[in-house]
């Protein structure tokens, strides 16, 4: 499968330092378009750090320093000259804890389109909001209460609202950092379903602590350990026939 799709992100020799401390060491990975890639690994191994490299969110941390090359569609994105604000419109992000803004449901989804000027009329904006909510599988539940505050939704609904917010600016890549860790199994199942539907049009990267989730939703899996990318490959291979002993130990639940 991965042989058919084209490579979206090409990461070469990426190192991340927080002050003196090195959080990522020499990471090399290719991430395919139109598929789901999952990052697994024990806590503190650098998964979130790596995810933040891909939309330059590490810029917001004063002491963080990123070296190496990250190429997205032939363009170097780890470059001071590139405007991170523009990049982040192309690389959306969903966080571990749902973080709707203190605004109405409508304004939450319309936030990105408004700041990036994606809609010139109110009708266009409404259309974008509706489409995004439909794609996020939330439209049926909120179509009659778009003016309610986003915070009034349940946790699972909030997480889907945040996904709708991310896809409203029509990004190319969606980064998800443990998007289901605060959700119950039913809400989790909905989000996983959603990820599967979104896969066709987006490049999705998801960090997860659940082996089952990685196996269910992703086509490619990368295993991180102590700041190193230990092993990456098709999800099936990683889970059934890992090359590295550390990967095998982690998957068997022997540490982590």
């Amino acid at each position: 499968m991965s042989s058919i799709t084209k490579t979206k992100l090409k990461v070469r020799d990426v190192n991340v330092f927080y002050g003196e401390k090195q959080a990522l060491k020499n990471v090399n990975i290719d991430i395919a378009d139109g598929s789901v890639t999952s990052f697994i690994g024990p806590s503190g191994c650098g998964k979130s750090t790596f995810l933040r490299c891909l939309n330059r969110m590490n810029d917001t941390i004063d002491e963080a320093r990123v070296t190496g090359s990250i190429i997205m569609d032939e363009e170097e994105i780890n470059d001071r000259r590139l405007d991170p604000v523009v990049l982040r419109a192309r690389v959306g992000m969903v966080f571990q804890k749902p973080n709707p803004f203190p605004k109405s449901i409508f304004d939450n989804v319309a936030y990105g389109p408004r700041i990036h000027g994606l809609a010139s009329t109110r009708e266009e904006l409404e259309e974008i909001v509706e489409n995004s909510l439909v794609k996020a599988g939330l439209w049926n539940e909120v179509s009659d209460r778009l003016d309610d505050p986003g915070t009034s939704l349940s946790g699972g609904q909030q997480q889907r609202l945040v996904i709708a917010r991310a896809i409203a600016v029509n990004p190319e890549v969606i980064l998800m950092d443990e998007p289901c860790s605060a959700l119950d199994p039913i809400a989790t199942a909905r989000i996983e379903e959603l990820i599967d539907e979104l896969r066709e049009n987006y490049c999705i990267i998801i960090v997860t602590h659940s082996m089952q989730q990685a196996a269910r939703v992703s086509q490619q899996t990368a295993f991180f350990h102590l700041g190193e990318l230990v092993e990456v490959g098709p999800t099936e291979t990683i889970f059934t026939n890992p090359r590295d002993q550390r990967t095998q130990d982690y998957i068997m639940g022997r540490f982590g």
């Binding site: 917001t60 973080n99 803004f101 605004k103 990105g112 700041i115 990036h116 945040v162």
Partner: protein, 568 residues
């Protein structure tokens, strides 16, 4: 050493002993193993010490609060009962005195006429339609006024006659110089003199007894004071016995309880609880008391000056009404100029403080580097620590002349040094740190996840602040602003010094205005009778001020609370 000191020392020794005994008894009961006890040995010590000391201390405190009053009462009662014979002689004389009886009859008759007139007036006043007769009503009113004046005159003569007879009696009694005779004379004075005379007598008696300087010094007063001293000494002896008995009783009872099973820890806990509860009750009662006295005095004020005149009147000049009988006709108590002045100065202060304070807070919490923050935050706190009186003379000596010069140069005429503008500006500066530090807290407590969410959407920092951080912090900021407003409304010192005292009703910030607080100061610092309407009006103003601040604070706290709930 005085009895008091001995008593206090004894009590202290008993308390310490109680602690020691409770502790060592518990140690004995533990048979060497503290784990055998329910509580740590010290708790048994605290328990016994508390029961030894607390009831006795309560009695001592009650004595401190009410002892003197009680002694005064007891002495007065003794004196008046000694004067029984004299008083009955006096009553007999009054009954036999023809002119006194005549005056009494005249007064009764005049009173009944006046009462009749009043009920007539009331009936006529309520009459509607045909029965209405304004002319007759006026006439009746005039008539009643005359009657009442007549009655007052008669009552004054009655009182004079009474005093005359009393002083004749006293003059004959003055020949007897024994202590008992003097004491009965004292009782006679207390029983028959006018209320203020009697009060003065009692005060002088108390002063002589305490060794202070009295306003008068007569042999009668001295005998009375001697009796007071005796009474106090007797009370002191009884008090000592009660205190020691309570201490010993509490000690014995508590010691009896100490045993390995006894839950001293829980008991001490309970005592501490009760103590804390009492402290909070005191705080609440004080508040209630202050508010109640405000209300009470205000009601008295409003019985003299109608509420609508106070709230809607445009003229404030209480200065003329100095004597109580001048009230109403001469002083004007329309508080609108004060409300307007307060509002104007508060508005100017807010126009200065809100933008500067808020933007400073945004800069400090969102943009400033750690090093700048380290300097700027304490600097702002120092600004908050400057006494308001310093701001006051800053306004008066620097800002006021500057404004006068500036606007004078711009061609404005008659610009004064003391203006609403200078007071408002300086007050605004005073409030800046208040707003900025509260807003800074609020902005900092907006979760980082919201900012990250916005950055991840491709928003810039200022977009994030404008569209996510500030809306999230808004309720808290509103709360901060309301608290700041209620501070500005209640601020006195700056305004007293910088805004002048003229009660002008104006919207021109270059004129002198006055505020509610300033007027309260002016009304109460003068040298005048406490019961005059002028002083009472200060309470009404205080009540208005209290209500305004209360409403502001309630809204502010509500808003802030609501905001807290959302992110916790």
């Amino acid at each position: 050493m005085s009895i008091n000191a001995i008593l206090a020392l004894t009590l202290l020794v008993l308390i310490a002993g109680g602690f020691y005994v409770g502790r060592s008894r518990a140690m004995t009961a533990s048979r060497g193993q503290i784990a055998n006890l329910h509580s740590l040995p010290n708790y048994y010590g605290y328990f016994v010490a508390t029961w030894t000391g607390l009831p006795a201390i309560i009695v001592l405190l009650m004595n401190a609060f009410f002892g003197q009053q009680l002694a005064d009462r007891l002495t007065t009662a003794q004196l008046t009962s000694a004067a029984r014979d004299m008083v009955s002689a006096y009553t007999v004389q009054l009954e036999d005195d023809a002119s006194y009886q005549a005056l009494l009859a005249a007064a009764a008759q005049q009173r009944s006429v006046a009462d009749q007139l009043r009920s007539d007036i009331n009936t006529l006043r309520r009459a509607r339609g045909e029965a209405r007769d304004p002319a007759r009503l006026d006439m009746l009113r005039q008539d009643r006024l005359d009657r009442v004046n007549l009655l007052t005159a008669t009552e004054t003569s009655l009182e004079n006659r009474r005093q005359q007879i009393a002083s004749e009696l006293l003059a004959t009694a003055d020949a007897e110089t024994s202590d008992t005779a003097r004491q009965s004379q004292a009782g006679f004075i207390l029983a028959t003199a006018s209320a203020s005379e009697a009060e003065l007598f009692a005060t002088d008696m108390r002063r002589i007894a305490d060794g202070d300087l009295p306003s008068r010094d007569t042999p009668v007063l001295h005998s009375a004071a001697q009796l007071l001293v005796q009474t106090e000494n007797g009370m002191m002896r009884i008090l000592s016995v009660i205190v020691l008995a309570l201490a010993l009783g509490g000690f014995l009872m508590a010691r009896q309880n100490v045993g390995s099973e006894f839950r001293a820890r829980n008991n001490v806990e309970y005592l501490i609880n009760t103590g804390l509860f009492l402290c909070s009750v005191i705080a609440i009662l004080t508040t209630v008391g202050i508010v109640a006295s405000l209300m009470f005095e205000s009601v008295r004020f409003f019985s003299e000056v109608p509420l609508q005149e106070f709230l809607l009147g445009l003229q404030w000049s209480p200065q003329i009404a100095i004597r109580a009988d001048q009230v109403g006709q001469s002083g004007a108590f329309g508080a609108v100029p004060l409300f307007a002045g307060t509002a104007l100065i508060t508005l100017i202060a807010m126009v200065v403080a809100i933008p500067i304070g808020l933007f400073a807070a945004i800069y400090l919490s969102e943009y400033a580097g750690p090093r700048f923050r380290q300097i700027a935050k304490p600097a702002l706190e120092i600004l908050a620590g400057i006494p308001t009186v310093v701001y006051g003379f800053f306004a008066l000596l620097t800002v006021g002349p500057f404004i006068r010069g500036l606007f004078g140069a711009l061609g404005f005429e008659d610009v004064v040094t003391q203006s609403a503008l200078s007071a408002g500006l300086v007050m605004g500066v005073m409030i800046i740190p208040f707003i900025s530090s509260l807003s800074d807290d609020v902005i900092n407590s907006v979760p980082q996840s919201l900012r990250d969410g916005s950055y991840a959407m491709g928003a810039t920092q200022s977009e994030t602040i404008r569209q996510v951080v500030l809306p999230a912090a808004l309720p808290g900021i509103v709360g901060a602003v309301l608290l700041a407003v209620s501070r500005a409304v209640g601020e006195t010192m700056i305004v007293v010094m910088a805004a002048g005292q003229g009660a002008n009703l104006t919207a021109n910030p270059l004129e002198a205005v006055t505020t509610i607080t300033v007027q309260i100061v002016m009304l109460l610092t003068g040298d005048q009778e406490f019961n005059s309407v002028k002083t009472l009006s200060a309470f009404a103003l205080g009540l208005v001020l209290f209500i305004i601040t209360l409403i502001m604070n309630i809204i502010a706290l509500r808003v802030v609370q609501k905001y807290r709930e959302k992110y916790d």
